[in-house]
Subunit: 255 residues, 2 copies
């Protein structure tokens, strides 16, 4: 069976995250993976056993993606443009397949990842723009952007990010390497746009890092508090997790 | 009772339009006016009779607003910044009060309008961008933008727009004056952004005009078909009404 890799965008607002969740064997929640499974199986005329779509990253409820990556096997060899168009016709409008490639049978969307890039958008308006409520985090208190810019390089490099992992985290090690952590200020839109790149991230890591950075910008934390947080390895010290609505899985790199 | 004028933005996606709709005296649908009524009355500690918020324009289900205008009377004289902040705290996140002014008691949001400006956004991508599905109309067929630009001036001036009024229209005359009809092409976003300004518009007029303009761009209509449509005064000839999701009430001008 030929294997296909697809790049997928979705508006996470109306999904209970990426991963299929079952209760007594029944899918009760609308998930991205659930919708992809349905579309792929429908395109393949519902084979037995059913085809399973494997995703690179289990984004949470409300988290968006420009460039999620998935793989799946089809029982026939068809043109990749046909796969893309067919799936886009079958999928709901909040998911779109950007591209499809045929890949080697040992390609694995989750295990072969080399690095990931995430974007986090923060609206700094007095009140939330009604058009941004599902698409940004919101921080209405005072922010000194220069303080955040001083703090960002403290995240770079290989560190134990235990202080930045939510309790659902089940990985063996909390050591991760961050290779990019920067901030673009969009004054017209009254937005801060963070970009983070690294080999992998812990559960809720980006949202916790953004929470800490905003508290640094607000003066509630020392400008170099990240160095201390990395040293103490204590999740309780990083209090505020920025909301899911601002987070976008932007791109996944493979070996 | 002092009268207040407020400029209101809203994301129309989750509303059954602006206007309160009752069935056997009960409000069953979520409307913008319904939410505004609730917030204003709550702020005023639920007086009897209840305060009624009057809107300038009855936008349809799914239609958005940057600059809807409303007026209402409060049983006390309070600071306009306090009114704005109080209402924004009470309102759901898909409505925001941009500004509040105290106005003369004979000001009327609907009857004193001088002109209105609407924007219509069309996504021209192959498949709908998942982040745009509620915020643009979508036209995936071929478009010659130059043909649309030649057609737009045919809308300008005073004309009988009977061919461009949906059947729900209940006005006495279908004569209207359009003072601005232009198009900006945003290639980065793969979007067309129309702007229309006029003294008033008929029911669904903007969406029907956009439908005709897109058909002209696609070559399905003569480039000057608008002149013929104005002359025939027959709604049946303007077939395609562009979807509500692309329409934004942008600004309302008063005498």
């Amino acid at each position: 069976m030929p294997r296909y890799k697809a790049i997928v965008s979705y508006d996470g607002s109306d999904f209970f995250g990426f991963q299929v969740q079952t209760k007594n064997g029944v899918e009760r929640q609308r998930t991205v993976q659930g919708e992809l499974n349905k579309a792929v199986n429908q395109m393949a005329k519902n084979p037995t056993p059913a085809i399973k779509v494997v995703g690179a990253s289990r984004t949470d409820t409300g988290v968006h993606a420009f460039g999620q990556v998935v793989h799946f096997d089809l029982p026939f060899d068809i043109n990749v443009i046909g796969v893309r168009k067919g799936l886009n016709t079958l999928l709901p409008k909040d998911i779109i397949i950007q591209s499809v490639d045929q890949v080697a049978n040992d390609f694995h969307a989750r295990f072969n990842t080399h690095a990931k890039r995430y974007v986090y958008r923060v609206s700094t308006q007095d009140f939330t723009d009604p058009f941004k409520r599902f698409y940004t985090g919101h921080f209405q208190w005072q922010l000194d952007v220069e303080r955040i810019k001083i703090a960002l390089p403290d995240l770079l490099g290989e560190h134990d990010f235990a202080s930045f992992a939510a309790s659902g985290n089940q990985t063996i090690t909390t050591i991760r390497t961050i290779t990019r952590a920067d901030l673009k200020v969009n004054n017209d839109e009254q937005e801060l746009v963070f970009t983070f790149e690294g080999n992998a991230f812990l559960y809720n890591q980006i949202r916790i890092m953004v929470g800490v950075l905003l508290e640094i910008g607000n003066g509630r934390r020392d400008v170099h508090d990240i160095i201390r947080l990395i040293a103490v390895k204590d999740r309780e010290q990083a209090r505020f997790t920025a909301p899911a609505s601002g987070l976008y899985l932007d791109e996944i790199y493979y070996d």
